[in-house]
Protein backbone atom coordinates (compact mmCIF):
# COMPACT_ATOMS: atom_id res chain seq x y z
CA UNK A 1 0.00 0.00 0.00
CA UNK A 2 1.40 3.45 -0.90
CA UNK A 3 2.64 5.59 1.97
CA UNK A 4 0.52 8.61 2.82
CA UNK A 5 2.55 11.78 3.26
CA UNK A 6 1.39 15.05 4.82
CA UNK A 7 3.47 17.96 3.51
CA UNK A 8 3.44 21.16 5.54
CA UNK A 9 5.08 24.16 3.96
CA UNK A 10 4.16 27.74 3.13
CA UNK A 11 5.69 27.90 -0.34
CA UNK A 12 2.98 26.92 -2.83
CA UNK A 13 5.40 26.40 -5.71
CA UNK A 14 7.60 24.13 -3.63
CA UNK A 15 4.60 22.15 -2.37
CA UNK A 16 3.27 21.68 -5.89
CA UNK A 17 6.66 20.47 -7.09
CA UNK A 18 7.00 18.14 -4.11
CA UNK A 19 3.54 16.72 -4.60
CA UNK A 20 4.09 16.10 -8.33
CA UNK A 21 7.43 14.42 -7.78
CA UNK A 22 6.41 12.33 -4.78
CA UNK A 23 3.20 11.14 -6.41
CA UNK A 24 5.27 10.02 -9.39
CA UNK A 25 7.35 8.05 -6.88
CA UNK A 26 4.23 6.30 -5.61
CA UNK A 27 3.40 8.32 -2.50
CA UNK A 28 -0.05 9.69 -1.74
CA UNK A 29 0.32 13.34 -0.75
CA UNK A 30 -1.75 15.91 1.09
CA UNK A 31 -0.43 19.47 1.26
CA UNK A 32 -1.27 22.16 3.79
CA UNK A 33 0.24 25.57 4.41
CA UNK A 34 -1.05 26.22 7.89
CA UNK A 35 -0.20 24.66 11.24
CA UNK A 36 -3.79 24.52 12.54
CA UNK A 37 -5.00 22.81 9.38
CA UNK A 38 -2.19 20.28 9.68
CA UNK A 39 -3.06 19.61 13.32
CA UNK A 40 -6.76 19.20 12.52
CA UNK A 41 -5.89 16.72 9.78
CA UNK A 42 -3.44 14.78 11.93
CA UNK A 43 -6.04 14.48 14.68
CA UNK A 44 -8.48 12.80 12.31
CA UNK A 45 -6.61 11.17 9.42
CA UNK A 46 -3.78 8.65 9.47
CA UNK A 47 -0.55 9.52 7.67
CA UNK A 48 2.57 7.38 7.47
CA UNK A 49 4.98 10.31 7.29
CA UNK A 50 4.80 14.03 7.99
CA UNK A 51 7.19 16.25 6.06
CA UNK A 52 7.30 19.69 7.63
CA UNK A 53 9.23 22.88 7.31
CA UNK A 54 10.27 24.51 10.57
CA UNK A 55 9.51 28.14 9.85
CA UNK A 56 6.04 28.60 8.44
CA UNK A 57 4.91 32.17 7.69
CA UNK A 58 3.36 34.52 8.53
CA UNK A 59 4.31 34.06 12.19
CA UNK A 60 7.87 33.02 11.48
CA UNK A 61 7.98 31.12 14.72
CA UNK A 62 9.31 27.59 14.82
CA UNK A 63 5.88 26.26 13.88
CA UNK A 64 7.21 22.97 12.59
CA UNK A 65 8.24 22.22 16.16
CA UNK A 66 4.63 22.80 17.23
CA UNK A 67 3.60 20.12 14.78
CA UNK A 68 6.18 17.75 16.23
CA UNK A 69 5.00 18.49 19.76
CA UNK A 70 1.37 17.98 18.74
CA UNK A 71 2.21 14.55 17.31
CA UNK A 72 4.27 13.60 20.35
CA UNK A 73 1.59 14.68 22.84
CA UNK A 74 -0.99 12.51 21.10
CA UNK A 75 1.40 9.61 20.56
CA UNK A 76 0.36 9.51 16.90
CA UNK A 77 1.74 6.62 14.87
CA UNK A 78 3.52 8.71 12.26
CA UNK A 79 7.16 9.24 11.23
CA UNK A 80 8.57 12.75 10.94
CA UNK A 81 10.88 14.28 8.38
CA UNK A 82 11.89 17.89 8.91
CA UNK A 83 13.37 20.29 6.38
CA UNK A 84 14.55 23.80 7.02
CA UNK A 85 16.61 26.53 5.44
CA UNK A 86 17.65 27.79 8.86
CA UNK A 87 19.09 24.79 10.60
CA UNK A 88 21.13 25.38 13.73
CA UNK A 89 22.56 22.66 15.96
CA UNK A 90 20.06 23.64 18.67
CA UNK A 91 17.08 23.51 16.30
CA UNK A 92 18.17 20.21 14.87
CA UNK A 93 18.65 18.74 18.35
CA UNK A 94 15.19 19.95 19.39
CA UNK A 95 13.56 18.48 16.28
CA UNK A 96 15.26 15.13 16.87
CA UNK A 97 14.27 15.22 20.56
CA UNK A 98 10.66 15.75 19.51
CA UNK A 99 10.76 12.67 17.32
CA UNK A 100 12.06 13.69 13.89
CA UNK A 101 13.74 10.83 12.02
CA UNK A 102 15.90 13.21 10.04
CA UNK A 103 16.43 16.94 9.58
CA UNK A 104 17.20 17.97 6.01
CA UNK A 105 18.82 21.24 5.00
CA UNK A 106 16.92 23.27 2.38
CA UNK A 107 17.47 23.37 -0.50
CA UNK A 108 17.68 19.68 -1.01
CA UNK A 109 17.16 17.63 -4.14
CA UNK A 110 13.81 15.98 -4.68
CA UNK A 111 15.56 12.63 -5.01
CA UNK A 112 17.20 13.00 -1.58
CA UNK A 113 13.88 14.04 -0.11
CA UNK A 114 12.02 11.10 -1.64
CA UNK A 115 14.71 8.76 -0.38
CA UNK A 116 14.39 10.15 3.17
CA UNK A 117 10.61 9.80 3.08
CA UNK A 118 10.79 6.25 1.77
CA UNK A 119 13.29 5.33 4.50
CA UNK A 120 11.12 6.94 7.20
CA UNK A 121 7.98 5.23 5.93
CA UNK A 122 9.35 1.73 6.51
CA UNK A 123 10.73 2.41 10.00
CA UNK A 124 8.36 1.75 12.93
CA UNK A 125 7.37 5.03 14.63
Amino acid sequence: MPSRILIIDDEPALMAALRDYLEQQGFICECVAEVAEAQALLANVHFDVVLTDIYISPLQEADGLHILSFIRERALDVRLVVMTAHSTPELKAEALRLGASVVLQKPTSLAVLASALAAAAVVPA
Partner: protein, 264 residues
Protein backbone atom coordinates in the same frame (compact mmCIF):
# COMPACT_ATOMS: atom_id res chain seq x y z
CA UNK B 1 -8.05 27.49 2.36
CA UNK B 2 -8.13 30.60 4.56
CA UNK B 3 -10.47 30.57 7.54
CA UNK B 4 -12.44 33.64 6.46
CA UNK B 5 -13.13 32.03 3.10
CA UNK B 6 -14.06 28.78 4.77
CA UNK B 7 -16.57 30.52 7.00
CA UNK B 8 -18.22 32.25 4.11
CA UNK B 9 -21.77 30.96 4.29
CA UNK B 10 -21.66 29.66 0.75
CA UNK B 11 -18.69 27.43 1.50
CA UNK B 12 -20.48 25.55 4.26
CA UNK B 13 -23.25 23.08 3.59
CA UNK B 14 -25.70 21.39 5.91
CA UNK B 15 -26.93 17.85 6.09
CA UNK B 16 -29.67 16.74 8.45
CA UNK B 17 -29.92 13.61 10.53
CA UNK B 18 -33.31 12.76 12.01
CA UNK B 19 -33.94 11.89 15.62
CA UNK B 20 -36.85 9.46 15.85
CA UNK B 21 -39.32 8.89 18.64
CA UNK B 22 -39.71 5.11 18.86
CA UNK B 23 -42.19 5.19 21.73
CA UNK B 24 -45.04 4.53 19.33
CA UNK B 25 -45.23 2.15 16.38
CA UNK B 26 -45.30 5.13 14.03
CA UNK B 27 -41.64 5.94 14.90
CA UNK B 28 -42.12 9.55 13.90
CA UNK B 29 -39.40 12.10 13.32
CA UNK B 30 -38.95 14.00 16.57
CA UNK B 31 -36.38 16.42 15.25
CA UNK B 32 -33.60 16.98 12.78
CA UNK B 33 -30.04 17.71 13.76
CA UNK B 34 -28.24 20.16 11.46
CA UNK B 35 -24.72 18.96 10.71
CA UNK B 36 -22.26 21.23 8.93
CA UNK B 37 -19.81 20.13 6.26
CA UNK B 38 -16.97 22.10 4.69
CA UNK B 39 -16.39 22.49 0.97
CA UNK B 40 -16.60 19.25 -1.01
CA UNK B 41 -13.25 17.95 -2.20
CA UNK B 42 -11.30 19.68 0.60
CA UNK B 43 -9.99 18.39 3.92
CA UNK B 44 -12.82 20.27 5.57
CA UNK B 45 -15.55 18.19 4.01
CA UNK B 46 -14.92 15.93 7.00
CA UNK B 47 -16.72 17.56 9.94
CA UNK B 48 -14.16 16.43 12.52
CA UNK B 49 -11.34 18.14 10.60
CA UNK B 50 -13.45 21.25 10.02
CA UNK B 51 -14.35 21.71 13.66
CA UNK B 52 -10.96 20.75 15.07
CA UNK B 53 -9.50 23.41 12.78
CA UNK B 54 -12.06 26.00 13.88
CA UNK B 55 -11.33 25.24 17.52
CA UNK B 56 -7.57 25.38 16.99
CA UNK B 57 -8.10 28.83 15.46
CA UNK B 58 -10.41 29.80 18.38
CA UNK B 59 -13.11 30.87 15.95
CA UNK B 60 -16.03 28.98 17.47
CA UNK B 61 -18.19 32.10 17.81
CA UNK B 62 -17.94 33.06 14.14
CA UNK B 63 -18.24 29.46 13.04
CA UNK B 64 -21.37 28.79 15.10
CA UNK B 65 -23.09 31.82 13.59
CA UNK B 66 -22.12 30.74 10.06
CA UNK B 67 -23.26 27.16 10.66
CA UNK B 68 -26.64 28.30 11.96
CA UNK B 69 -27.12 30.59 8.96
CA UNK B 70 -26.25 27.71 6.63
CA UNK B 71 -28.60 25.39 8.53
CA UNK B 72 -31.54 27.80 8.36
CA UNK B 73 -31.00 28.34 4.64
CA UNK B 74 -30.79 24.59 4.01
CA UNK B 75 -33.84 23.92 6.14
CA UNK B 76 -35.84 26.41 4.10
CA UNK B 77 -34.77 24.96 0.76
CA UNK B 78 -34.50 21.24 1.51
CA UNK B 79 -37.08 20.30 4.09
CA UNK B 80 -40.85 20.41 4.34
CA UNK B 81 -41.89 23.28 6.60
CA UNK B 82 -44.16 20.95 8.54
CA UNK B 83 -41.25 19.04 10.07
CA UNK B 84 -40.76 19.31 13.82
CA UNK B 85 -37.87 20.78 15.71
CA UNK B 86 -34.43 21.60 14.41
CA UNK B 87 -31.43 20.98 16.64
CA UNK B 88 -28.35 23.19 16.32
CA UNK B 89 -24.87 22.52 17.68
CA UNK B 90 -23.41 25.47 19.58
CA UNK B 91 -20.13 25.61 21.50
CA UNK B 92 -20.36 26.41 25.20
CA UNK B 93 -17.71 29.04 24.51
CA UNK B 94 -20.05 30.81 22.09
CA UNK B 95 -22.78 31.00 24.71
CA UNK B 96 -20.20 32.34 27.14
CA UNK B 97 -18.54 34.91 24.87
CA UNK B 98 -21.03 35.94 22.19
CA UNK B 99 -23.18 38.42 24.10
CA UNK B 100 -25.60 38.95 21.20
CA UNK B 101 -25.98 35.30 20.21
CA UNK B 102 -29.64 34.92 21.32
CA UNK B 103 -30.59 38.12 19.44
CA UNK B 104 -28.73 36.81 16.39
CA UNK B 105 -30.67 33.54 16.48
CA UNK B 106 -33.97 35.39 16.95
CA UNK B 107 -33.32 37.73 13.99
CA UNK B 108 -32.08 34.98 11.70
CA UNK B 109 -34.99 32.68 12.55
CA UNK B 110 -37.39 35.51 11.81
CA UNK B 111 -35.68 36.15 8.45
CA UNK B 112 -36.15 32.50 7.48
CA UNK B 113 -39.65 32.18 8.90
CA UNK B 114 -38.56 29.67 11.53
CA UNK B 115 -40.39 29.59 14.86
CA UNK B 116 -37.75 29.74 17.61
CA UNK B 117 -39.96 27.41 19.68
CA UNK B 118 -39.02 24.70 17.17
CA UNK B 119 -35.30 25.09 17.91
CA UNK B 120 -33.12 23.05 20.23
CA UNK B 121 -29.59 24.25 21.01
CA UNK B 122 -27.23 21.33 21.58
CA UNK B 123 -24.36 22.59 23.72
CA UNK B 124 -20.97 21.22 22.71
CA UNK B 125 -18.34 21.46 25.41
CA UNK B 126 -15.10 20.67 23.59
CA UNK B 127 -13.14 22.90 25.92
CA UNK B 128 -14.02 24.07 29.35
CA UNK B 129 -15.88 27.34 29.77
CA UNK B 130 -14.99 29.78 32.50
CA UNK B 131 -17.85 32.21 32.93
CA UNK B 132 -20.96 30.38 34.11
CA UNK B 133 -22.88 33.62 34.60
CA UNK B 134 -22.69 34.64 30.95
CA UNK B 135 -23.47 31.14 29.74
CA UNK B 136 -26.54 30.95 32.00
CA UNK B 137 -27.70 34.40 30.86
CA UNK B 138 -27.43 33.42 27.21
CA UNK B 139 -29.39 30.23 27.85
CA UNK B 140 -32.07 32.16 29.76
CA UNK B 141 -32.38 34.55 26.81
CA UNK B 142 -32.71 31.61 24.42
CA UNK B 143 -35.31 29.99 26.67
CA UNK B 144 -37.30 33.21 26.68
CA UNK B 145 -37.55 32.75 22.89
CA UNK B 146 -38.90 29.24 23.39
CA UNK B 147 -35.62 27.56 22.41
CA UNK B 148 -34.95 24.34 24.26
CA UNK B 149 -31.57 23.24 25.54
CA UNK B 150 -29.73 19.96 25.14
CA UNK B 151 -26.29 18.85 26.31
CA UNK B 152 -24.41 17.10 23.53
CA UNK B 153 -21.88 14.31 24.05
CA UNK B 154 -22.66 14.03 27.75
CA UNK B 155 -19.85 12.29 29.59
CA UNK B 156 -17.34 12.65 26.78
CA UNK B 157 -14.36 15.00 26.93
CA UNK B 158 -15.38 18.17 28.72
CA UNK B 159 -19.09 17.32 28.57
CA UNK B 160 -19.52 17.11 32.31
CA UNK B 161 -21.99 17.33 35.15
CA UNK B 162 -21.17 20.99 35.83
CA UNK B 163 -22.96 21.83 32.61
CA UNK B 164 -26.07 19.95 33.77
CA UNK B 165 -26.27 22.32 36.73
CA UNK B 166 -25.48 25.46 34.75
CA UNK B 167 -27.54 24.76 31.64
CA UNK B 168 -30.64 23.25 33.29
CA UNK B 169 -31.19 21.31 30.06
CA UNK B 170 -34.36 19.87 28.59
CA UNK B 171 -32.42 17.00 26.97
CA UNK B 172 -29.31 14.95 27.68
CA UNK B 173 -27.67 13.47 24.62
CA UNK B 174 -25.56 10.36 25.04
CA UNK B 175 -22.67 9.92 22.63
CA UNK B 176 -22.17 6.90 20.39
CA UNK B 177 -19.20 5.92 22.57
CA UNK B 178 -21.61 4.88 25.33
CA UNK B 179 -24.35 3.57 23.06
CA UNK B 180 -22.50 1.35 20.59
CA UNK B 181 -22.36 -2.16 21.98
CA UNK B 182 -24.57 -1.46 25.00
CA UNK B 183 -26.57 -4.63 24.37
CA UNK B 184 -23.47 -6.72 25.08
CA UNK B 185 -21.79 -4.60 27.73
CA UNK B 186 -23.21 -4.33 31.22
CA UNK B 187 -20.90 -1.43 32.09
CA UNK B 188 -22.29 0.66 29.23
CA UNK B 189 -25.83 -0.15 30.32
CA UNK B 190 -25.01 0.92 33.90
CA UNK B 191 -23.77 4.30 32.67
CA UNK B 192 -26.75 4.76 30.36
CA UNK B 193 -29.12 3.87 33.21
CA UNK B 194 -27.43 6.38 35.48
CA UNK B 195 -27.92 9.16 32.91
CA UNK B 196 -31.50 8.03 32.37
CA UNK B 197 -32.02 8.22 36.14
CA UNK B 198 -30.60 11.75 36.21
CA UNK B 199 -32.87 12.66 33.31
CA UNK B 200 -35.99 11.32 35.02
CA UNK B 201 -35.06 13.04 38.30
CA UNK B 202 -34.35 16.40 36.66
CA UNK B 203 -37.09 16.27 34.07
CA UNK B 204 -34.80 15.92 31.02
CA UNK B 205 -35.39 13.46 28.21
CA UNK B 206 -32.42 11.33 27.15
CA UNK B 207 -31.46 11.16 23.47
CA UNK B 208 -29.28 8.25 22.31
CA UNK B 209 -27.11 8.94 19.28
CA UNK B 210 -24.90 6.64 17.27
CA UNK B 211 -27.37 3.75 17.26
CA UNK B 212 -26.14 1.36 14.58
CA UNK B 213 -27.18 -2.09 15.78
CA UNK B 214 -30.66 -3.52 16.21
CA UNK B 215 -29.74 -5.15 19.52
CA UNK B 216 -28.59 -1.81 20.91
CA UNK B 217 -31.84 -0.18 19.77
CA UNK B 218 -33.90 -2.85 21.53
CA UNK B 219 -31.76 -2.51 24.66
CA UNK B 220 -32.32 1.26 24.71
CA UNK B 221 -36.05 0.83 24.26
CA UNK B 222 -36.12 -1.63 27.14
CA UNK B 223 -34.44 1.09 29.21
CA UNK B 224 -37.28 3.49 28.26
CA UNK B 225 -35.07 5.64 26.04
CA UNK B 226 -37.22 6.51 23.07
CA UNK B 227 -35.46 9.40 21.32
CA UNK B 228 -33.03 7.68 18.97
CA UNK B 229 -30.58 8.85 16.33
CA UNK B 230 -28.17 6.74 14.33
CA UNK B 231 -27.24 5.15 11.06
CA UNK B 232 -29.51 2.19 11.79
CA UNK B 233 -32.48 4.52 11.42
CA UNK B 234 -31.23 7.20 9.02
CA UNK B 235 -27.90 8.53 7.77
CA UNK B 236 -27.38 12.30 7.47
CA UNK B 237 -28.67 13.64 4.19
CA UNK B 238 -29.73 16.72 2.31
CA UNK B 239 -32.53 15.92 2.52
CA UNK B 240 -32.43 12.85 4.78
CA UNK B 241 -34.77 9.87 4.84
CA UNK B 242 -37.66 10.78 7.09
CA UNK B 243 -38.94 7.30 7.88
CA UNK B 244 -37.44 4.44 9.85
CA UNK B 245 -36.49 1.57 7.51
CA UNK B 246 -39.29 -0.94 7.24
CA UNK B 247 -37.10 -3.78 8.50
CA UNK B 248 -36.24 -1.90 11.70
CA UNK B 249 -39.84 -0.89 12.23
CA UNK B 250 -40.96 -4.49 11.77
CA UNK B 251 -38.51 -5.76 14.40
CA UNK B 252 -39.56 -3.04 16.84
CA UNK B 253 -43.21 -3.93 16.26
CA UNK B 254 -42.61 -7.67 16.66
CA UNK B 255 -40.60 -7.18 19.84
CA UNK B 256 -43.34 -4.91 21.18
CA UNK B 257 -45.97 -7.61 20.63
CA UNK B 258 -43.74 -10.21 22.29
CA UNK B 259 -43.35 -7.87 25.25
CA UNK B 260 -47.11 -7.39 25.54
CA UNK B 261 -47.70 -11.15 25.39
CA UNK B 262 -45.07 -11.73 28.07
CA UNK B 263 -46.64 -9.10 30.33
CA UNK B 264 -50.03 -10.81 29.89
Amino acid sequence: MKLDLLLNGEQLSTVFQPIFDISSSACEVWGLEALTRGPAGTHFERASVLFDYIRLKHEEVTADRCCIAAAFAARKHLLPQSLPRLTLNVHAGTLERDRTFPAYVEKLASDYGIDTRDLVVEIIEQSTYFDSAHLIRALDDLRSLGVRISIDDLGLGHGNYRLILDANPDFLKLDRYFIHGCADDRRRRVLIESVQHIGVSLGCAVIAEGVERMEDLLTLRAMNISLIQGFLLAVPGAPPALAVPEGVRAVLHTEEEVGVERSN
